[in-house]
């Protein structure tokens, strides 16, 4: 039986959190914030468009790395959480591949991206398509010449690290990811291809 994305998303999208008496949200082993998506977009877009063209790729790699580390540590927190055990784990019949499908369902419920895996070669390659993601909001009219879903790139690589890399916390950067299509560039969906680092 395939993983039931709809049921997972329907359950987890109801999650509402707020800062405690100290204004802190501690969950999944990390501190969380819930902020307007355009804050993150504003900085990423202004940074990548401020630097000289020959330095843009370096700036983009740093943004992707921030997401990669975030995805790796928060992803581990998700996998260790009670929510995962109660909501997602019952659908994980074929680990670790079902684990990846479950993680993509979780981030869909979190509002990061309406994303699913369309191709998965165990231990080797994952292709994710996202039919909506907040990082595409940087373009309101026309098409961008640069792909801008740095967060999703980092997250996809991080999830492959968690599932196929060395045991946490030693498996980070086993995989890398490239964005090959982008809604912000006029494509129907964003596409992200994660492969082993160096491939």
């Amino acid at each position: 039986m395939p993983i039931d994305r709809k049921q997972i998303i329907d359950h987890l999208c109801r999650l509402e959190v707020e800062g405690n008496e100290n204004g802190m949200i501690s969950a999944f082993g990390v501190f969380l914030t819930q902020l307007p998506a355009d804050f993150w977009n504003n900085f990423a877009e202004r940074l990548t468009r401020s630097v000289r063209m020959d330095l843009r790729r370096a700036a983009e790699e740093l943004l992707i790395n921030a997401a990669h580390e975030c995805g790796y540590h928060t992803g581990q927190g998700i996998l260790s959480s009670e929510e995962w055990r109660s909501v997602v784990q019952p659908f994980v019949f074929k680990p670790p591949e079902d684990t990846l499908h479950g993680l993509l369902a979780v981030i869909t419920s979190w509002g990061w991206a309406k994303a699913e895996i369309v191709e998965l070669i165990p231990k080797t390659k994952m292709v994710v398509r996202s039919y909506d993601y907040y990082e595409a909001d940087i373009v309101e009219q026309g098409r961008s010449s640069k792909m801008s879903a740095y967060m999703l790139c980092g997250i996809c690589a991080a999830f492959m690290d968690l599932v196929y890399g060395d045991k946490y916390p030693n498996g980070i950067h086993t995989f890398q990811c490239a964005q090959t299509k982008g809604i912000e560039c006029g494509d129907e969906y964003g596409e992200f291809v994660a492969v082993k680092s160096g491939d």
């Binding site: 969380l32 740093l62 975030c70």
Partner: protein, 179 residues
Amino acid sequence: MKMSTYKALEIDYKYDPKQARRKINGNTFVFHCHHYATLYTQLAIDAKDLADGPQLLTDAAEDSFRAWFDRYDADHPGMTLEEKADMGRQFYSWSGLGDMKIGCLGENGGEVYLHHSHLDSGWLKKFGRAEKPVNFITCGFIAALFSSLYNQPARSYRVVEEKSIACGDMQSLFIAVRV
């Protein structure tokens, strides 16, 4: 749709399944962890030779939070200055950014304290003690709050972090000055 109230702050959360977006009062909000916030901050510092990274991060925060304050203000007409300031403080806390106390405020500036801070706690957890204050996101937040309270355009207030939890101080102190 579910309505909830964080003290006096009105929060209307709903999930849009068509877009897979979390909407707070109609605006797209996302969760992110302290790794992300601190690495963005570190990136802003490291990018000083490429662009003015800390200022970019401060300005990005100011513009985003100002837009939020203005929308909230439009949806809740008639709030007093005190109520608006309290809304800003509570929003800071609700969002997980920390525990903010406004020491004083006036049209020419003011003093804002943090007793707990997402960015500073995250920084200490991830990198250890900072040599200089690093909470550019909160500088932008406070600039947005002051300019919104006094109906001034963006960049009307310069905010400097004088004390910093990440640097070892018991509390962070931000000084806002009208420019």
